[in-house]
């Protein structure tokens, strides 16, 4: 079956101005997202992972034009989103929904659950008013809540239940793509598993496409088909989940995966521990943005920005943005301590 492109992001940049000085002029920019491109196909789950400040949430928001992108194009189902008027964009938002991280902050506390869902359907003219109540009940049942809870207020629900309300709201307008921005990060593991399972069932039932934004690599491995790894506003590696988790090529991806504590006390506690902090996105390092923390960094890395490229040992569109993928792979380039450091 030919894969159908649903969302295509091309050369996306999101710079936030920093005002300062006497006249409140723009003195500099935070380069939150700096020239990224990727495609999402219909029915798949693509995740963006990275640490705080890497630009993963900004990417999600820029796609929906919750913040106007500085540069680049976002094509959704044949429509070029960045050139649409506000009115046209609002219509299209029916197909593009988002679930936020904090279920406490993203639902109006003065609306009942039924009001929340009704409002979404009214704005998008999904159903005539008469049929909406029935649909609301249906939606609640879909996400594992009960009919009698429809007229309750958000404060009467637990965190996991509130996240279910957020999911029901996103589903109420029959979207094609849902952006899940750290949608399960605030939940405890036992509840997180419930919500992840729910998201997977819904994907099957309603043929949804997910853009899943998360910092939790366990969650990402579980839910994704393909994974994008970001560092300081750039994509450093992209590939299907087996490639990213079992055959990572970029030194950052390797370090990131290796830094996660494994819930198995008998496993040897070896980690690659990166030194230092993530540099500021206001004045990111020249060349490869990771070179300040990369144990393999060479002169070239300080000057040339690496492009995403694929190599012999990489399959299925797996690409990494590193000048020395092959040299690291065949051992001609070695770094002291990398892969060796015992925790």
């Amino acid at each position: 079956m030919a894969k159908k492109e649903l969302l295509k992001v091309d050369g996306l940049k999101q710079y936030f101005p920093i005002k300062g000085g006497m006249m409140g002029r723009t003195v500099n920019h935070v380069k939150a997202v700096d020239d990224i491109s990727f495609t999402i196909y219909e029915g798949e789950t693509v995740s963006i992972v990275g640490e705080s400040g890497c630009g993963k949430s900004t990417t999600g928001r820029a796609i929906l034009r919750l913040e106007e992108p500085t540069e680049g194009t976002v094509t959704f189902n044949g429509h070029e989103l960045t050139s649409l008027s506000k009115r046209e964009m609002r219509k299209l938002r029916k197909d593009l929904q988002i679930i936020f991280q904090d279920p406490y902050a993203s639902i109006n506390p003065r609306q009942t659950v039924a009001d929340v869902l009704d409002e979404a359907m009214t704005i998008q003219k999904v159903l005539p008013a008469k049929e909406r109540r029935k649909r609301i009940i249906e939606l609640l049942e879909t996400v594992g809540l009960n009919e009698y809870q429809a007229d309750r207020y958000p404060h009467e629900f637990s965190g996991g239940q509130r996240q279910r309300i957020g999911i029901a709201r996103a589903l109420s307008v029959n979207p094609k793509l849902i952006i899940c921005d750290e949608a399960v990060s605030a939940l405890d593991v036992s509840i997180q598993a419930q919500v992840l399972n729910l998201l997977q069932e819904l994907q099957k039932d309603f043929k949804l496409t997910y853009l899943f934004i998360s910092h939790d690599l366990g969650v990402v491995r579980h839910i994704s088909d393909r994974v994008i790894v970001m560092y300081l506003g750039k994509i450093v590696e992209i590939g299907d989940k087996y490639s990213i988790f079992e055959n990572p090529k970029h030194p950052y991806t390797k370090a990131l995966l290796s830094a996660i504590p494994v819930p198995d006390p008998t496993r040897e506690k070896k980690h690659i521990v990166l030194t230092g902090d993530v540099p500021s996105p206001i004045d990111p390092p020249t060349g490869c943005r990771f070179h300040t923390r990369c144990p393999f960094a060479q002169e070239k890395c300080k000057v040339d920005v690496p492009e995403l490229s694929t190599h012999a040992s990489m399959i299925n569109g797996h690409e990494a943005a590193c000048h020395f993928v092959e040299e690291i792979e065949n051992g001609t380039l070695q770094a002291e301590g990398f892969e060796e450091a015992v925790f």
């Binding site: 509840i191 598993a193 910092h215 079992e246 504590p261 521990v273």
Partner: protein, 350 residues
């Protein structure tokens, strides 16, 4: 076997609100040995942080320790006066918190804050204390410590702030370091740095550590023994290898089965149904019974005590008692998981 440094016995802490009594901690027992790390693991609201605060008697005004013992080197801290307790806190037992920004004072420099406890507990002058502060910052791996010591918390990154917190906690060479979710607010690469730092310092200084966390990965990598908490109680307490290889309590098993893993491929997560009970209306019997797939009438009727099993580990579950009559086979841990992880390994080796 190393000597016992701290022994908590059946600790109970209750908070009194306008309309209810909340039994936040209701039956916590564990032992901390010299030089070892004890993990307290549980989800939000399980009482793990309140347990730590109770040990140091740092409870809010409406909180009261209503029962139990906290034996530190043979003496019950619960009988100590406020003044005596002040000599313990930050001295013999110190604590680091989850949010390094809110636990540091924004209007004092890093040096002033570290010096405070040094001057109090070690009778050093301001100047000497500042010199010691620089040494401590160096110890926790902060680059150019003589410059950093004059900076304010806002000038430091999250990882740096947590290092400062650790420096502060170590200022008086504590025998016990209580780390309450020390890496939860940090990114994984920074978390790895901090966990390694705590581990290194522990080895060098011979401290005992109580590691409070919700992250089973952190537990597996840092702890020697683990107390699993649910709804204010310890439900399982054993050494770390036993806990991960043969978890016994249905809650522990459920917790491990619902954990998505980055290192092995899982087909489906087994979630625990339902929600944590409201602490104002705790179930009559076992607190996990409403969510437990094996629960029987006995479980719903009577609360199980923390019992010793045949291997000397503690478990709070009727299944492992003589009273049990139900089907013990209901809960199977991990066979599927283990099979799956083997499969991943074979795919890799091909």
């Amino acid at each position: 076997m190393n000597s016992v440094l701290l022994e908590v016995e059946d600790l109970r802490t209750t908070f009194y609100t306008d309309d209810a009594e909340v039994k936040a901690v209701d039956g916590v027992s564990f032992v901390l040995r010299k030089g070892k790390t004890l993990g307290i693991v549980g989800e939000s609201g399980s009482g793990k942080s309140i347990t730590a605060l109770s040990i140091l008697k740092l409870l809010a005004n409406n909180g009261k320790i209503v029962g139990g013992k906290v034996q530190f080197k043979g003496e019950d801290l619960l009988t100590y006066s406020d003044k005596k307790m002040r000599d313990i806190r930050g001295n013999a037992i110190s604590m680091i918190f989850q949010e390094p920004m809110t636990s540091l004072n924004p209007v004092f420099t890093v040096g002033q804050q570290i010096s405070e406890s040094i001057m109090k507990h070690q009778n050093l002058s301001k100047k000497e204390a500042l010199v010691k502060s620089v040494e401590l910052l160096k110890l926790v791996g902060i680059p150019s410590p003589d410059k950093r010591v004059k900076q304010y918390p806002y000038e430091l990154s999250g990882g740096m702030r947590q290092r400062v917190m650790i420096a502060m906690a170590l200022a008086c060479n504590p025998e016990i370091l209580i780390a309450d979710e020390p890496t939860t607010a940090l990114d994984v690469t920074i978390q790895a740095q901090i966990l390694r730092l705590i581990r290194d310092l522990q080895k060098r200084l011979g401290m005992s550590v109580i590691m409070i966390t919700h992250d089973l990965g952190v537990v597996a990598e840092t702890c020697d023994s683990v107390a699993v908490m649910y709804a204010g109680q310890v439900v399982e307490y054993s050494d770390v290898v036993t806990l991960f290889q043969q978890p016994k309590h249905p809650y522990t098993i459920g917790l491990m089965n619902s954990l998505p893993r980055h290192d092995v491929e899982l087909e489906k997560l087994e979630s625990i149904q339902g929600n944590v009970p409201n602490p104002k209306e705790m179930p009559l019997g076992c607190r996990f019974a409403p969510r437990c797939p094996a629960a029987t009438d006995l479980c719903r009727r009577e609360m199980p005590e923390l019992m010793k099993d045949t291997e000397g580990n503690d478990i709070r579950c009727w299944i492992y008692s003589e009273k049990w009559e139900g089907e013990a086979e209901v809960i199977v841990y991990g066979e599927k998981r283990i099979a799956e992880s083997r499969r991943t390994e074979t795919i890799l080796s091909d």
